[in-house]
């Protein structure tokens, strides 16, 4: 078994480029698509052309910046307009005493969100104004706010650990998603070495040697697992310790899930090997099927977007879905072992079944 393992490693080190490419690929994809850095909230310049410019800006600026993902900064009239015209900002906000105007050069969803936010703010403010009449608006606002704290009807949201619910983090989801996706390729190509050995005759030679079939399979599969897990682990560690991403406090659990996922993916790849005759066909078929899995597992979309029951069912048959759920639960909601046990069990079950069927198919084809 060790000889098989060692020799596969030696072969990989001879031409490690595919492996390095997939490893770098997961990092680059994440960096490109997952704008995960939460500190860079969008800056929106604001300006006013009213006579009482100072007063208007002083009134709205704090209100706008209060609990908002946008960062509103005061600019000069002409400077602000120039920023949009030259495309440096997608939107600037012109303020009047009781009104606003959004100047934009884009119809991106982000602009829509900005519009919604500003609109809501001005409406609320107008309502407060109307209710207060000539009284003090600020006092009324404070009253309303303190009333809402103790409202008779309240929605309670609680995270798994009982703490506050964090905002869903799409960037983190993509980080996990891309990394596992790339690892699926790596693992598949490593498992394909079994087919390659069978095709080039080395497999038959091994059968005639004193090492057992079990040792041959174990050597190959341990190796595939090792490489797959190494890749996922490395990417996570790079994000955590070099790029300083926040993966939640439980890196150990995250790596554990990665290990179970790799194990289970080795089995899935083995099942493919059982169905497919030659290593060349494997390359083609595996590479065309694998990219579908993250799509139906909803890796690229916010959770809950996919609702087709058939797709959801198919997604459940692959380890990716379960690994993603566990990873997000751990990183975002601080899930404990109990919370992810079911997902882990699913992955192990998939692993056992695929491995059994896969090896059986391969052995049967022999005779």
């Amino acid at each position: 078994m060790f000889a098989v393992f060692k020799t596969q490693i030696r072969k990989e080190l001879r031409s490690p480029w595919a492996l390095i490419l997939l490893l770098v690929g997961s990092i680059v994809l994440t960096l490109i698509f997952a704008n995960i850095d939460q500190d860079t909230s969008t800056t929106v310049p604001i300006f006013s052309t009213e006579e009482k410019k100072e007063e208007v800006l002083n009134k709205w600026e704090p209100l706008l910046n209060k609990n908002s993902n946008f960062n509103f900064v005061v600019e000069e009239d002409t400077a602000a307009r120039k920023l949009v015209e030259e495309g440096e900002h997608t939107a600037v906000l012109q303020l009047f005493e009781h009104d606003y105007r959004l100047i934009t050069n884009s119809s991106m969803p982000a602009v829509q969100m900005l519009e919604d936010y500003v609109h809501m703010l001005f409406t609320t403010e107008a309502q407060l104004q109307a209710a207060a009449g000539n009284n003090n608006v600020a006092a009324l606002r404070a009253e309303v706010e303190s009333y809402l704290q103790e409202a008779p009807l309240q929605i309670q949201t609680e995270a798994l650990d009982g703490g506050e619910v964090p905002d869903y983090n799409m960037g983190l989801q993509l980080l996990f998603g891309f990394t596992l996706f790339m690892a699926m390729f790596t693992i598949g190509f490593q498992v394909n070495a079994v087919s390659a050995d069978r095709a080039n005759g080395v497999w038959d030679r091994m059968i005639l040697s004193p090492i057992s079939k079990t040792a041959m399979y174990t050597g190959h599969l341990c190796y595939s697992f090792f490489i797959g897990f190494l890749q996922v682990g490395l990417v996570f560690l790079i994000f955590r310790y070099i790029l300083h991403y926040d993966l939640g406090g439980h890196l150990g659990m995250i790596l554990f899930v990665a290990a179970i996922f790799s194990l289970s993916m080795v089995s899935v790849a083995m099942l493919f090997t059982g169905f497919i005759k030659t290593p060349e066909q494997f390359q083609v078929i595996y590479s065309s099927v694998i990219p579908i899995i993250p799509v139906i597992s909803g890796v690229y979309m916010p959770p809950g977007t996919l609702s087709n029951p058939i797709l959801l069912f198919i997604a459940d048959l692959f380890p990716l879905q379960h690994a993603m759920n566990s990873l997000m639960d751990i990183a975002l909601y601080g899930a404990g072992w109990d919370d992810i046990a079911l997902q882990i069990a699913f992955m192990l079950l998939i692993g056992v079944i695929c491995m059994g069927v896969g090896i059986n198919l391969i052995e049967r084809r022999n005779n």
Binding site: T7, K11, D204, S209
Partner: protein, 311 residues
Amino acid sequence: MMIETVKLTKSFKGKNVVDEINFYIDEGESVGLLGPNGAGKSTTISVISSLIKPSAGDVKLYGKSIIKNPAAIRKILGIVPQEIALYEELSAYENLKFFGEIYKVKRSVLEERIQEILDMVGLRERQKELVKTFSGGMKRRVNIGAALLHRPKIIILDEPTVGIDPQSRNHILETVQKLNKENGTTILYTSHYMEEVEQLCKRVYIMDHGKIVASGSKTELLNILSSEDTIKIHLNETSDDILKKIQQIESVRHVDETDDGIRIISKKGNNILSSLIHTVESQGAEITNYQIETPSLEDVFLHLTGRTLRD
């Protein structure tokens, strides 16, 4: 008797590719298995080496069936497959090391063994180079070396010289001869090259369409032809018609055109020359050269099967 097959049969999709074969190999012997492509040689070897199970019949090692207990033969067998079965991405040395390890050669002797084998196949200087950069002949030599690491008592070589340069070929033949003569290794050598088998093997089995059609030492096999002559003639011009007419001469058993003239096998004793001259001249051609050949194993094969080895 070291190895013996009893009515060994292997069929694929209902067709008997190996058909009730009986043969034996004594310890220390060098035996040839000769036959054209598709005769069933590789399949026979696969069954003997326990890689595939026979459809019927048995293979015995020292009198005991190997079908239920393949470990017995695997321990003493070195097999050189027809196709090169190596890791092309690895060097010659790394390949040999891998096969040494899976054959559980003790670590203390493995290194020395590898170098010894590299010497034997003449690749010591190039052991660090990747197999994929090797010529066909060099690959075949590594392929043989990979079967020798555990010092097998019997080596089965399946067409080890197909498609390689003469130099590599000679090297391989010498290596096999040395293993047999100096180390006393038993050899089963498969080929469709007559000359190799004649040179290497004391005893030969001739196989065709899954059956053994003849066997024995070279002299014994040639005696099969004692009732026939092989005649080579050259004509100033040939045509299919002439060949057909010659075929119709009563004592002629077989006619074919070779690289070097027309080959005729006829019953011994009959004076065939006059009928030949008559036939050829009646077709408007002339015999420019005529000779009676000493028969070869190739002729034996032709006699037995009506085919040439390279058909």
